[in-house]
Symmetry: C2
Subunit: 392 residues, 2 copies
């Protein structure tokens, strides 16, 4: 049985997808990873820019200036100021070459075309120099950045409106299990409602992946090998829920074997999610997630999520995590590594009740997972625990 | 000038939208807020469920049992076991009423139809009782919960496939500023590329709001009052970028005044984002965000975001925040409250360079904002600082 850390390392180094590069308009780039560095097309600001409403002056000997004109944001006037002259100017407007300071309007007295100041103006005051934020041809964003809203604003401001990004991996979700009934139908004795399919779909949608229809497979060997064979050859990633086990009813395990899927690991020394399977066929990754919903959710964020980020060329591959003080005591006889549902608070992280792997209700409140290494039997309030932030 | 805390309080209590309730299928419910409590339609699990692969037994006097049948997950068999009898059983399968424990297969020796155990079985062992996770008619999720992927899994598992949610607020983005040029065009002297529109659109898209086309308004009074008049009457929220100021070129300020928009607050004692305006006309909220991109981004997450969550009926209205140790020293002469771009690390939060309000580049790295109250002049490494987590 493999350790959590080793399993995660195997996932993160499994970067063998042939990525397709495509050019998209910036508006459509949210959630894609950059396939090239973004280089600024301009100096930003492109001109000496006033950072205040006030008066651009050519610093003179006395405390009064003669106003010879006006420049609003967006104007392209370039007045020629001599010493002791000023122009009325507004935030964002270009400061004339012949001006070396901007006086703030609140500190000025005005009389006709004359202004008076009590300040001794410093050269460069309230002027943003050309290229203060970024220079033309300088690196704006590195290849591998997964584009968020702030990046879209930044890229836009440096004049770039098309970007080269990596295509997303194609993903199939295959749900197995004779006990599953589609939500909305009557529930016969011995059956439960299928919930992993809709949950996985919405997790993928939240992360801006193309959301596949959930494929339900009948509980017999022929259907299983046919469905897995086609989804594996058609996709970069196949996520099977229902898990694999050993024994005569494990059609998934037999099918994967007969399809020559190479086992990378099977069973991780963790709770929940011990019977996790990860395999490869060619460049396709195959996960079999445990059927228990909370175990499936944990395995998705701890293993599938970093693989997807790796395959799409993102340099940041994992959820944000940090060490926080536990606000709870916790005792366990568990020798496996544990992922505990938790909720972050102002001053630390609280462990939630309902940690059984079949328990999804605690995830209704949870916004984090606490990772406890193997053989952690006691957590005392105040202990630092590794906290992985869920994306909501 | 209003304080940050007061401005935020005014936003959070501004819950006067007439919310429309709609029924959506669970698949389409991601990112909507529940308009009603979700009540479980079933006991979950709905039957006594085996949590292991093994043998369901009727506990007898000796350590061997006679196997009289087999129950797979999804089967509806109900064998009648007498003392000393067993059935082969698999994880998720229904345990017969006449069985009171499940033995794990790993601890069993099998010979023909006889099994032997060295354990002394406890009553109820490895059986999930009916309704362990939730009882029929019990509360599953409260009205006001904004539905995430875990909720979709949970709701699905309790048999609910349609939910009543609140409609989303309709939002308009209006971009003003004579200095702005659409990305992709040539940049004349005195102009800069427009970046707030695309940034705001992608922030709204990331939060699953209907994404409006960005409306550009010409820099004259007639266009401004016409555009603002129609967008205010057609939407729940109007976000204007470019800000308002005082003076003869402030068409936005004059138009809002002449449209009888009531000022709730104008200017917040903060950096960046001091010239923030928030007003109301009827049930419509109007923001004028500062034109500086980083200030606009900060104002969006600190003020607009909680208002949107309030209007859509979400009980959780603000980004997650927590107190973390600063990993940086920071000095400032600023008396206003400050929002600093920052990045969380394993052991605390690091303050980024480039805090000027025109600097968006630091947001390329940032995943958090540090809030410093008024008159905070020094932060020393190790000090606890309030850290607001950005949603990426």
């Amino acid at each position: 049985m493999i350790k959590v850390e080793e399993a995660r390392k195997l996932i993160l180094t499994c970067d063998d997808r042939v990525r397709h590069v495509m050019e998209v308009s910036l508006e459509d780039a949210l959630g894609y990873s950059l396939a090239e560095d973004i280089i600024s097309l301009i100096d930003m600001p492109p001109f000496r820019q006033s950072s205040m409403d006030g008066y651009a002056i050519n610093i003179g000997d006395s405390s009064n200036y003669k106003v010879i004109g006006e420049i609003k944001a967006g104007d392209n006037h370039d007045f020629h100021l001599t010493s002791g002259e000023a122009v009325r100017i507004y935030t964002g407007a270009p400061v004339p070459d012949t001006s070396n300071a901007v006086l703030i309007q609140e500190k000025i007295e005005v009389e006709d075309d004359q202004i008076f100041t009590e300040e001794t103006p410093d050269s460069g005051m309230n002027i943003r120099p050309i290229g203060e934020q970024i220079r033309k041809d300088e690196l704006a964003l590195k290849a591998g950045v997964r584009i968020n809203s702030a990046h879209i604003g930044f890229i836009s401001s440096v004049g770039v409106n098309k970007v080269k990004v990596y295509s997303k991996p194609s993903i199939a979700i295959v749900v197995t299990g004779n006990e599953l009934v589609t939500n909305g139908l009557v529930l016969p004795y011995g059956k439960v409602y299928e919930s992993n399919g809709p949950m996985l779909r919405s997790m993928l949608a939240s992360e801006q992946y193309n959301v596949p229809e959930v494929i339900r497979v009948e509980d017999n060997y022929e259907s299983t090998i046919y469905t897995l064979g086609t989804t594996i050859s058609d996709n970069d990633v196949v996520i099977i829920t229902g898990g694999i086990s050993v024994g005569k009813y494990d059609f998934v395990g037999r099918a994967l074997k007969n399809l020559n899927v190479q086992e990378i690991f099977y069973k991780v020394n963790q709770k929940p999610g011990k019977p996790l399977f990860y395999g490869k066929k060619g460049n396709t990754s195959i996960f079999a997630l445990p059927g228990n919903p909370a175990a499936a959710l944990t395995c998705f964020y701890i293993y599938v999520y970093p693989l997807l980020k790796t395959l799409e060329g993102a340099s940041k591959k994992e959820l944000n995590s940090l060490n926080l003080s536990s606000l709870s005591n916790y005792n366990s006889k568990e020798t496996r590594a544990q992922f505990l549902k938790a909720v972050i608070q102002e001053d630390g992280v609280q462990i939630l009740g309902g940690q059984s792997s079949a328990m999804l209700s605690a995830f209704g409140e949870a916004n984090a997972l606490i990772f406890l290494p193997e053989n952690t039997f006691n957590i005392t309030k105040g202990d630092k625990v590794k906290t992985i932030l869920l994306p909501w």
